[in-house]
């Protein structure tokens, strides 16, 4: 399964860095006196040009990171660092799962975060600043004074060695993805092949984020259906599902329940997850039945109103509802309903549901604990 991880600028940035760092390394080592390749003068000219190009690229990259909020990807975290290291040392040989999932909102593992951040705030600035000093303060009797180039040269060289070592490790570690080449392909096309479990986790994560954002906006905005459409569209775009695969298929693999009801109110399709949430043994048991089975009679009235609105073309986030399962027990989920369209005509209603029973139970428990705690505190006269 493929998901869209790297945006155009990100890929461009990455490959320009590859090009420039290679040019800088090859010419830099020549300037350092290791070999003769381009000729000293050309090596210096290419090195200086590449260095300035790199500076420009960095300026654009900084701008991009802050406007897109992508800088958050580099907030360091010690969580799971140990697990990640252990994975590379032992787990990878045993076929263990990656300890972290790649998500659009969190595309680096904690080890990557630390190392990339180190590169961005330590190595690149040191190499850059010493490089500029090399270029412009190399005859230190003009303007600013440097006692000599020793220190500048030493730091610059040290930074270069560090970068070379980083690149060796970095290139090698790209082969540890889902398949050996999937990370490199992703950096070229933007689409990364991931295993199903990661993809599912990601879809759910994306939808939750989208729904949360929508909820927050619904409180203030009026045109609700438009906003929801937009949120869904954003999710789809971020995941790339629209381009690559049918929304339904993604949802089918996501753990979210999917359903489609025709104009008469009869289930035409539900997925396994839906059937599981309603405690049916298989989707077949549901298909052909009327959708009133999903609610208690009182709540069905409300659903019917929504259903009719959707048939008129609105997309409606229903928020949290209570479902009635086959065995009569109840559960909780959020539901979003959207018109099912075929040949430009609304032929019914489709949507997905996300189970919130566990969360509600947890919230309930939390509340109970809170009450109990307050009681205890009150008894002890602490309040």
């Amino acid at each position: 399964m493929k998901i869209y991880i790297y945006q155009l600028f990100e890929r461009f940035w990455h490959w320009m860095q590859v090009l420039l760092i290679f040019a800088l390394a090859i010419t830099g080592l020549e300037i350092h006196g290791f070999y003769e390749l381009l000729g000293y003068r050309n090596a210096v000219l290419v090195h200086d040009f590449s260095a300035w190009s790199f500076v420009v690229l960095v300026v654009f990259a900084i701008f991009w990171h802050f406007t897109t909020g992508e800088w958050r990807q580099y907030i360091p975290s010690t969580k799971l660092v140990k697990e990640q290291v252990e994975y590379y040392i032992t787990g990878i040989f045993k076929g263990a799962d990656h300890p972290t999932n790649k998500l659009v909102y969190n595309k680096f593992n904690p080890l990557q975060r630390l190392i990339y951040l180190g590169l961005k705030i330590m190595v690149i600035p040191v190499v850059g600043v010493t490089g500029m000093a090399y270029m412009y303060l190399n005859y230190p009797n003009q303007g600013m004074q440097l006692e000599s180039l020793d220190l500048v040269a030493g730091l610059h060289t040290a930074g270069a060695y560090f970068l070379i070592v980083f690149i060796i490790a970095h290139v090698y570690l790209t082969t540890t993805g889902h398949k050996p080449l999937s990370a490199i392909k992703a950096m070229i096309t933007g689409w990364e092949e991931v295993d199903e479990k990661s993809a599912r986790a990601m879809v759910v994560n994306e939808m939750e984020v989208a729904l949360k954002m929508t909820r927050a906006r619904l409180k203030t905005e009026e045109n609700k259906s438009e906003l929801l459409d937009k949120a869904l569209a954003e999710t789809e775009e971020k995941l790339g599902v629209k381009k690559e695969e049918k929304f339904r298929d993604v949802v089918a693999n996501s753990g979210a329940g999917y359903f489609r009801i025709n104009r008469k109110g009869v289930y035409e399709e539900v997925n396994k997850a839906w059937a599981n949430l309603y405690k049916f043994n298989s989707p077949e048991e549901v298909v052909g039945k009327h959708y009133s089975l999903s609610r208690s009679p009182e709540e069905f009235e409300e659903l019917e109103i929504t259903f009719n609105k959707v048939l008129k073309g609105e997309t409606i986030p229903h928020g949290e509802v209570t479902r009635v399962c086959q065995d009569g027990s109840v559960g909780h989920h959020t539901v979003t309903m959207t018109p099912a369209i075929h040949d430009n005509e609304i032929v019914g209603v489709e949507g997905f549901i996300l189970d919130t029973t566990a969360r509600l139970l947890a919230e309930k428990e939390l509340l109970e604990n809170k009450i109990r705690l307050e009681q205890l505190l009150a008894e002890k006269g602490l309040k």
Partner: protein, 533 residues
């Protein structure tokens, strides 16, 4: 794809601008940037004076002094100018560290060629612009003793006679000479400046007879197939005050000629090369070799002098190129051609080993050039700070006073035997005594030979740009690098920190080994590594 191209353009457009702004004027630079100079081809030259028409120069001249008086009858006050010129006084008072203002002129200073002019005036003053300086009785205030002709003769027939204290050969038609006068040409300057030290190109290495008529391969400025510049086109002269000097006979940073007086401080189209000019003299790159036409003397060992042939007569031996490598009167020599200069930091100041100075280091440095990498910025001793200069180093052995620990003056020249001159009697004891008596300094009676070095910063025999040094000539780890021995500073391409390089290389190797081991294990254990799907 379109988007990608836009991105490339947007990100690299500023870079292009930057590079373009640094490389502006590139096309104009095909023509060399010049100021304060009009090319020969663009000049209109008219002869406005014809000295042959002056009656004063048509009279019969009994003595060469009469020519001088004839000159001064029109150029009435010119003698005052020339009489304060070093070419007349052979004195140059300049400050030396710890010794105040002393004369470092030709009259007193020692070198490691013929050692010194004192006690040998009669022959040395063949290169004095005067008549009759054979001993200290010479009257420097007598204007008729000025030799105008040696510098201004354009007939080519005027020559001073050896051992005649500056007088010309007898029988020269002085009317022809006097009527030919004009601006000094290279032959006028060259007769002394090419032949100093007793032979062609002995001293400078970059000034020699071949430059009377050479190609631009020998000297890009003087080449007669090129711009054909004469000496005074750079050594600009007004009121007989000739600019330029060399540190064999001077120590202060003044009255110098610079390349930039015509070529500007930023002669290159390439900013990076112009920046090199902050610390590197133009000469360093643009005079890659000297003594390009004829050999120059690199080594002069007085200690072997005095070997006579079976008849007790002085003799000479020559090397394969026909240069003397042994003379009984002077000792042994080493000559060399197309010589790579040695390189030194130099800030325009030089010290001198005076005859009165105690020898403190061996080899004795006759005219130590001042300068260091650290002589820069606010540390600068002179306006220009130290720059790297190409230098001819002339090494040799010459006599010194073992007890008093100072160099000695030697009387080398005399017309006859028995006057204590080394070249007649081959007796060191006596000739040193005679030399030291002449300058009025004590001599212990004990001498030996000591190694000396003399420094000649190079300025001539400039090569064309395409023959100049290339980056790699200095920026190299090779032992043959031009700056291999000038190591009081860090230079990219030559220098590195061995420990840092070692650590870096070890880290790189280790990471490769790590990759191979880790990757190898993954391949060996790949069954485990396959995921379920």
């Amino acid at each position: 794809m379109k988007k990608f191209i836009y991105l490339v353009l947007i990100v690299f457009f500023p870079c292009q601008l930057l590079i373009a702004s640094e490389a502006e004027d590139t096309d104009d630079q095909k023509a060399i940037k010049l100021v304060n100079y009009v090319r020969k081809a663009d000049r209109v030259e008219k002869k406005v004076v014809d000295h042959s028409k002056f009656p004063a120069l048509q009279q019969e001249f009994a003595r060469p002094q009469d020519v001088t008086l004839a000159c001064l009858s029109c150029h009435t006050e010119r003698h005052t100018e020339i009489m304060s010129n070093n070419h007349w006084t052979w004195d140059r008072y300049e400050k030396l560290d710890g010794r105040g203002e002393v004369s470092v002129g030709k009259r007193n200073i020692l070198n490691n060629f013929c050692i010194g002019t004192s006690s040998n005036r009669e022959t040395c003053t063949r290169c004095h612009i005067g008549y009759g300086w054979k001993d200290e009785s010479f009257d420097f205030s007598e204007k008729e003793n000025i030799d105008c002709l040696v510098c201004h003769d354009k007939s080519g027939i005027y020559k001073k006679e050896p051992g005649k204290a500056g007088y010309p050969f007898e029988g020269i038609n002085l009317n022809v000479v006097a009527q030919s006068v004009g601006t000094p040409g290279r032959a006028n300057c060259g007769v002394c400046h090419f032949w100093g030290g007793g032979g062609n190109n002995v001293k400078h290495g970059d000034l020699e007879e071949a430059m009377n008529d050479c190609s631009t391969k020998i000297d890009v400025h003087m080449g007669t197939n090129g711009e054909d510049m004469s000496c005074v086109e750079c050594h600009l002269t007004e009121n007989h005050n000739i600019t330029g000097k060399l540190y064999a006979l001077s120590s202060e940073n003044k009255n110098r000629i610079t390349c930039s007086q015509c070529h500007t401080e930023e002669p290159h189209a390439d900013a990076l090369l112009n920046k090199h000019g902050y610390r590197i003299a133009c000469q360093t790159c643009h005079i890659p070799y000297y003594a390009k036409a004829n050999s120059t003397k690199m080594w002069w060992d007085w200690s072997t002098a005095g070997r006579l042939d079976e008849n007790g007569q002085p003799m000479h031996e020559s090397d394969a190129d026909g240069n003397h490598n042994y003379l009984s009167i002077k000792g042994s020599f080493v000559w060399d051609q197309n010589v790579k200069p040695e390189y030194f930091w130099f800030n325009g100041l030089a010290d001198h080993q005076l005859i009165t100075d105690t020898i403190k280091e061996i080899p004795v440095q006759m005219n130590k050039l001042d300068g260091a990498y650290s002589d820069k910025g606010s540390n600068c001793k002179t306006a220009g700070c130290s720059k790297i200069w190409p230098v001819k180093v002339h090494r040799g052995k010459q006599p010194y006073d073992v007890v008093n620990k100072n160099l000695v003056q030697v009387k080398t020249y005399a017309k006859n035997k028995g006057e204590g001159a080394y070249w007649q009697d081959f007796d060191w004891e006596e000739s040193i005594q005679a030399g030291m008596d002449y300058v009025g300094l004590p001599y212990s009676g004990q001498f030996d030979f000591v190694e000396t070095e003399m420094y000649w910063p190079l300025n001539h025999q400039v090569s064309s740009a395409d023959k100049s040094l290339k980056c790699i000539d200095c920026h190299t780890r090779s032992e043959d690098g031009r700056l291999a021995s000038l190591n009081d500073f860090y230079m990219p391409g030559r220098d590195s920190f061995a420990w840092l390089d070692n650590i870096g290389i070890i880290l790189i190797v280790l990471s490769f080994v790590g990759v191979v081991i880790h990757g190898g294990l993954r391949i060996v254990l790949r069954k485990n590594c396959l995921h379920d799907n």
